[in-house]
Amino acid sequence: MPNPTKNRERQADDLPLSGLEVVEVAQGVAGPFCGRLLAALGANVIKVERPPKGDWSRKIAPFLSDDNHPESSALYLYNNTGKKSVLIDWETESGIDTLTSLVSKADVLIEDWDVNYRESAGLSTEKFNSENPGLVEICVTPFGLSGPYARWKSTPIVQLALGGYLSIMGYPSKEPLMLPGHQPDYLAGLNAHNAVQMALFERDIDGLGQFVEVTMLETLANLHQIALEMDGAVRVRNGHRQSSLSRRGFPPGVSTLPADDGYVTFGGGSVAIWEQLCLMLGRRDLSENLDLDNLDEIAELRCEVDEIMTEWMKGRTREEVFLDASRNWMLPVAPIMELHEVLADPQFNQRGLFQDIHHPVAGTAKYPTLPFVTSDPLQEFKRAPLLGEHTEEILGR
């Protein structure tokens, strides 16, 4: 078993991606999140930023310093841990030469150039790979380089709309709701990381790199199986009750209900869980003679039990409900945690999920690290680079 307390003590040359050279020109979240993972696993990630302002995420709030200093954007700081920053204006002739020379020695290039940009800048998909046949080039864009939406512009809400996520979030009587932050970008970043590993696996066999596209829209469509499996039916949004489990042959599913100090989510979806829940509420009768094919009856039963549970939770805190239902009744239940509670949570902290990182401009903050621990510990996370901090070291000027 990995021991998190002994974790992250290793030297950089002993990590799974030690020796892997990565150049990242992608900006924002998707490509940089992928680069962040590669850096955490031991790769040398050179982040190329265009002067004078660098990555656009440097301009995004929230900022950790009072004066909205671009070195203190939480989005930039989080997504660029462990990288080196080099300033190159690749939109000038000498700049593209410098970038090309940097990429000619790299194993992986992470970029986010869409079809409009490629055409205006004259960047073909073969440009780098033809000079460096071992190069794995990952191109992360909202819609990809081909197809009817290829020239369209996107943002997280547009992406979540087209990708089918908005349609299932929120109340049926109200407008559909988006996920917080930059979720399509993060998801595509995870997928880009998978694409890099897949291409490297192939390269280990024949020495050849390749150009691989990862798109946000396809990433979202790929993860939408619950909706896609409905066999012709339209999945509707259903507020604090997850509707996917209201199907023939299934007992009532997930509900989010109030406790004294906030809300608690009850997972569901199996007869065993339903019986256990009814037992906990002292209402074993409600789990007897269930007709799982009668959807109306199941829906009614669910409303009834939601009311009973709400009553049952009066006078209890989220934590009391969580610990009692999880420990004593083995029910899948969790409090809806606020951000500061997540940061203080004993489970997350025992796993070493967060690490304090100091930054000369932004100060010290707690950063999420990786969602996994490994039997061979990884290294400590290092702070994000200052704009152009490593230009001299890497370009010699």
């Binding site: 819609f143 547009v158 590993q197 291409a199 798109t215 409905m230 606020e338 010290t364 061979d376």
Partner: protein
């Protein structure tokens, strides 16, 4: 560049020759192993032979395509021995039980490593292998609540709303692939295995990193709810013609604002209050009212197309059926139509990593429990037909391949 896929395609299935023993259930784990299968890995799903066998279609089918099925009891000495033999000839083991389950079966990482020191083992428990909540049950729907994501989602700050899609599951499934492949490459190079403990609840935490960083440093809490953006306006969804049809619109620059005004026309938007981003943010409701008036009698596809062609970020709110018929996804050959036997041909989402996948003509539907038991036991592990008959009789395995059902 247009109209042609630029991804290099040089072989079918980058992971051909990789064998994965898949003990996962529900969503997160099966999604991870499905991705490995899409790229040609031989994914052997090991299931208890006492489970019902008729589970090819639906969500199960979607998540278990390109996998084989071995029926095997792990809680008997014979079954456990066969499992360890399979581990010996495999590269990866993935499971998402609660932490006590594998030790109870005497199948700890140490035992598995004894059988195969190069093995990459990925456990995907709810809260991790150790710690105060380690044995608590968790689903994607509850792990997303624990992760903080849900606290930022809702129409108002006092009533959080779930994602409706058990967000921790897909995020955790995606995470498993990259880390498993990282250590698999290393195992191939050095012979050294690895144990990975990937927690369902940790995965979504890492998707809101910037908010947690800011909360820890300056107690930052995002106050915007619904579809509000902290800076941009308009930003949200507008009702279009029809029952429950909506279009998302987001204006991020002055140019995009001008483009929106020119598409909508009239003079209600040519108001000096709206000429700057700050002004638009301040009078967002007034702007939304004008857009809603314009959108309500138009259809979603024409609104989105007209706006995008003018340079405005817009997208219709596709439901699951519209997503399955999306023209852009279809033009990129994203979907896969797979024969589900008695269910007929069913449309599946394809693979979003373009390149290196197993050729779609080789894709197969989710397996019937035990359909590959004979193949695994006889062809891979060297058991005889007579051995299989004995394993069927004592219930260690189950055989649902065509030759078995005929006999």
């Amino acid at each position: 560049m247009n109209g042609k896929k630029s991804t290099t395609i040089r072989s079918s299935g980058a992971l051909k020759g990789v064998r994965v023993v898949d003990l996962t259930r529900v969503w997160a784990g099966p999604l991870g192993t499905r991705i490995l299968g899409d790229f040609g890995a031989e994914v052997i799903k090991v299931s208890d032979p006492r489970l019902p066998a008729d589970r090819m279609g639906g969500l199960y089918g979607k998540l278990n395509r390109n996998k084989s099925s071995l029926g095997l009891r792990l809680d008997t000495e014979v079954g456990r021995r066969i499992f360890l033999e399979l581990v010996t000839i495999s590269d990866v083991v993935i499971e998402n039980f609660r932490p006590r389950v594998m030790p109870n079966l005497n199948l700890t990482y140490d035992e598995i490593m004894k059988a195969n020191p190069s093995i990459v083992m990925c456990a995907m428990p709810g809260y991790g292998a150790e710690g105060p909540y380690a044995e608590f049950p968790a689903f994607g729907s509850t792990a997303e609540a624990a992760s903080g994501v849900v606290s930022m989602l809702g129409y108002t700050t006092d009533r959080p709303i779930q994602t409706g899609m058990s967000y921790a599951d897909p995020v955790s499934g995606l995470n498993s692939v990259g880390v498993v492949l990282t250590y698999l490459r290393r195992s191939r190079a050095t012979g050294k295995g690895q144990y990975i403990d990937l927690a369902l609840a940790d995965s979504p935490v890492c998707m809101i990193g910037e908010y947690l960083v800011a909360n820890s440093a300056i107690s930052y809490l995002p106050t915007e709810r619904g579809n509000e953006h902290p800076d941009h306006a308009p930003h949200g969804v507008n009702r279009a013609d029809g029952d429950d049809n909506w279009v998302a619109i987001s204006v991020t620059t002055n140019d995009e604002w001008q483009a929106l005004c020119s598409v909508i026309g009239g003079d209600r938007l040519s108001d000096s209050r709206f000429s700057t981003q700050d002004g638009r943010k301040r009078f967002e409701e007034d702007i939304d009212a004008v857009i809603s008036d314009w959108a309500k009698s138009r259809d979603t596809v024409s609104i989105m197309t007209q706006l995008q062609e003018a340079g405005v970020r817009a997208g219709r709110v596709s439901n699951n059926q519209e997503l399955l018929n999306d023209p852009h996804l279809a033009a990129n050959d994203f979907f896969a139509d797979i024969d589900e036997g008695e269910n007929g041909l069913k449309r599946y989402d394809g693979q979003s990593i373009r390149g290196n996948i197993l050729d779609k003509s080789e894709w197969k539907a989710g397996p019937i429990l035990g359909q590959d038991s004979k193949h695994v036991l006889v062809n891979l592990l060297g058991y005889s037909e007579a051995d299989c008959a004995a394993l069927a009789i004592d219930g260690t395995s189950v055989f649902n391949d065509e030759s078995s059902t005929q006999s």
